[in-house]
Amino acid sequence: MIARGHIHPISSLIREANAIFYRMGFSYVEGPLLEDEWHNFDALNVPKDHPARDMQDTFFIKDEEGKMLRTHTSPVQIRYMESQIKKGIQPPYRVIVPGKVFRNEATDMTHEAEFFQIEGLAVGEDITLAHLKGTLEKFFKEIFRGASVDIRFRPSFFPFTEPSVEVDMRITGVNAPEKLRDKWIEIMGAGMVHPQVLKNVGIDAQKYRGFAFGMGLDRLALLRWGIDDIRLIHSADLRFINQF
């Protein structure tokens, strides 16, 4: 019998996140890594030549005007909503988008130029910020199996959400990893979809609202398993991978 190989922890997390969100009615969708300015920035309400674009250092593609490696998974929100509207399908929508994203910055123990994110989007007539909190609480409880997880919101700013929040989580109880127990940890950005974003894809922003969130999967893996260096995730080193 051949000994089983090992799943990469990120793939395991995506598998688990998909299972949790699937039960909550979210479809898994994906999009290209090489993006255009419309999907990565403009449609998301990030104006050209605006300081908000500095929040994400972008890899632009040589000799291809307006092309870049996506800086977040949010452009897939736009692609998904555009395609639904084109097919004549109005909300409700619920999707998650796991995938690789890119930031042009120097790497260290907590920063990688390429890393994984998971995006969530729920659009409907009755979606509220309270649903965002409820959804995230449920997700974290399941992903940190059995530990109790508290969620807290702090005000923040993203051009594509209004209101925008920063989400902190805190794991408590005996099942919590000791290093993390009772500590508030910043885990993701989120908010209510900016009405301009809905308008940009042709959705009636008077009738529909939505929430969106985006979280680093590498960071979630670090927290979940106590990994001490984010670069291990991209190291292709079996001394790391074979532990999973």
Partner: protein, 599 residues
């Protein structure tokens, strides 16, 4: 932005709480705090609030709302008196400079700043230069309007003071303060003197041509407002990301320029003496009052709360947002008059955020989503990749992710930090080969018979972005195949399989030092279990033994031969043969004492 608690205190009669408490108030209601040092907070002002909060006044306003402390004075709520004219102003392109604002002050005495001013500026990491320059910086950090002081000499034309703003000319030269000589591009706004010479890159940095001298007595104090995008580009072009440029690129309201020029003229007069001869103010557009309306019902449906009219009214009052409550039939609508500096408030959702954050999101409820009425779709690619992943793992392959950046490929990125490997990979093969080589060295440490790897990843080839499945092992060459070829034909009845998650609990960090392998073989009486022997070895080899396994066993003449592979590694150093020999001697001795015969 660095914010000093003492500076903030000038806005309040009531003593402010300590810096830690101020930090908490801002963190949970307005902005993240990067650090606290003594009584200075480093506040991370978000790009939407650069209009009003890159200033002590803006932060004081926030604290007033959060902590329910009345402000004793708010310079931006005082109506401005008519300002006497005294400068001839010409703005060639109002789109570049929507407001020209300058004050002409005569008879100033340049010298050291008063102690209070020096202390304020130094507390937020600024260097005191002289009273006039310090006054301009003070106004910027106090109310958020960048201002600049020029020596008035070259602006004078007979009895008239002329100040202009125009577009630069291509190849026009300018020596910036500090000495950097630049050549203008023809695309930036410049301030010009009476001879039409550029003396300042508008919104970015002043030039040496009109620099204040120790004996300067006549100054022009400029608080003109420059357009954000051009200013940002100019600052980038000349690598001058100054405090002024930062504020212009975030844009402030037109009105702030007029408040700014008045504030700086008054302060210069107060600390450097002289007489304000007059102002030059040109506003190219009139600013209309803005009203944004939001209904109580909408606030509650977005936030998922049950706020009442009085709760909302209370927050608006605390934020100093004037409103009328427009009672229409059944629902109450708040018509909010937005003050000029709050350029971020333009739609109802902006007001909802104000309500949500000032009340505090900690009180916002958590509600599960209702059952989804649509269909949950199965993603073909994910479905196929999960199948492939499971098949490969069952076949002994482990999954890696290698970088999408390569030293060759069809496409490249423009601006990679460090410049290495700028291409987007066109194949998984090279990454997999590297990964194989790296891991092969660790085979014994990992206890693997052979290294087998796979990656499911994106490549860019033949002008397309494709997801590939690649495999490699010591016995087979690296190969790859598009995921497309694994797609299932029958999409209609697809369900995600219930595949196992990683069972790992905690990651154990591994040693970065090389390891040493020793094999040991012995005769033992038949019937002696290999586990039993391995246990003895482990107990005596100590913590340097990181992996041990039986690799050979046979029987001959009533005896059994057992062979074990032992892997030694230290967390603290590179092991020497001598280190391992010592351990092995001990193991040999114990095994021989058991009556085993070492081969």
């Amino acid at each position: 932005m660095k914010i000093s608690r003492n500076w903030l205190q000038t806005y309040f009669d009531t003593p402010l709480p300590d810096a830690r408490e101020l930090s908490d108030a801002l963190t949970f209601h307005t902005f993240e705090i990067e650090s606290i040092e003594d009584d200075v907070l480093d506040v991370k002002v978000t790009p939407n609030r650069g209009h009003d909060c890159l200033s002590h006044r803006g932060i004081a306003k926030e604290l007033s709302a959060i902590l329910e402390l009345p402000m004793k004075n708010d310079s931006l709520r005082v109506p401005l008196p008519a300002l006497p004219e005294g400068v001839a102003m010409e703005i060639e392109s109002p789109a570049r400079a929507p407001v020209g604002a300058v004050a002409y002050v005569r008879g100033v005495k340049i010298g050291a700043s008063p102690m209070w001013l020096k202390e304020r500026l130094e507390s937020i990491g600024q260097r005191s230069i002289n009273n006039v320059v310090d006054a301009t910086n003070y106004v910027m950090f106090d109310i958020g309007m960048p201002t600049h002081a020029f020596s008035a000499d070259t602006f004078k034309d007979g009895g008239i003071v002329r100040y202009g703003i125009r577009c630069s000319k291509k190849s026009e030269k300018l020596a910036l303060l500090g000495g950097t000589a630049i050549e203008l591009s023809g695309d930036e706004a410049v301030i010009v003197n009476a001879s039409d010479e550029a003396v300042d890159i508008g919104g970015v940095k002043g030039g040496m041509r009109a620099e204040l001298q120790e004996n300067t007595t006549e100054v022009l104090l400029s608080a003109s407002k420059f357009e954000p995008v051009q200013t940002r580009r100019a600052a980038q072009r000349f690598n001058q990301r100054t405090e002024a440029a930062k504020r212009f690129e975030n844009e402030m309201s037109d009105e702030l320029a007029v408040y700014g020029v008045r504030a700086v003229a008054d302060l210069v007069q107060k600390i450097a003496g002289g007489e304000i001869v007059g102002y030059g103010i040109v506003k190219s557009r009139s600013s209309a009052d803005r009203t944004v309306s939001v209904s109580l019902a909408k606030i509650n449906t977005v936030l998922g709360t049950r706020l009442e009219e009085k709760n909302v009214a209370d927050v608006l009052k605390r934020l100093d947002l004037q409103f009328k409550c427009n009672e229409m039939s059944s629902h109450c609508i708040f018509d909010v008059e937005v003050p000029f500096e709050r350029m971020d408030i333009t739609i109802p959702e902006d007001l909802i955020e104000e309500i949500g954050r000032i009340i505090g999101y900690d009180s916002s409820p958590a509600v599960e989503l209702p059952v989804f009425r649509g269909t949950v779709e199965i993603n073909e690619n994910f479905y196929a990749s999960e199948k492939v992943r499971e098949d490969l793992i069952s076949g002994g392959y482990s999954e890696v992710f290698t970088s999408v950046f390569a030293d060759k490929g069809e496409r490249a990125v423009l601006n990679k930090v460090g410049g290495e490997r700028p291409f987007l990979r066109s194949t998984l093969i090279d990454g997999l080969k590297d990964a194989l080589e790296k891991n092969t060295h660790n085979k014994d440490l990992l206890g693997l018979e052979g290294v087998k790897l796979f990656e499911i990843g994106t490549v860019w080839s033949d002008g397309k972005e494709i997801i590939m499945v690649g495999t490699v092992s010591e016995k087979e060459r690296a190969t790859e195949k598009p995921l497309e070829e694994y797609l299932s034909n029958d999409v209609s009845c697809m369900q995600y399989d219930d595949l196992p998650f990683s069972a790992a609990m905690r990651y154990q960090s591994f040693s970065k030092y090389p390891y040493i392998v020793r094999d040991i073989a012995m005769w033992v009486p038949t019937g002696t279990g290999a586990d039993e022997v391995l246990e003895i070895i482990k107990q005596n080899a100590g913590e340097l033994l990181v992996r041990s396994s039986l690799f050979d066993r046979f029987e001959k003449g009533g005896k059994t031969s057992l062979a074990f592979r032992l892997v030694f590694q230290s967390f603290g150093k590179t092991l020497t043969d001598e280190d391992v020999n010592q351990v092995m001697s001990k193991v040999y001795a114990v095994l021989m004492a058991q009556g085993f015969e070492i081969r």
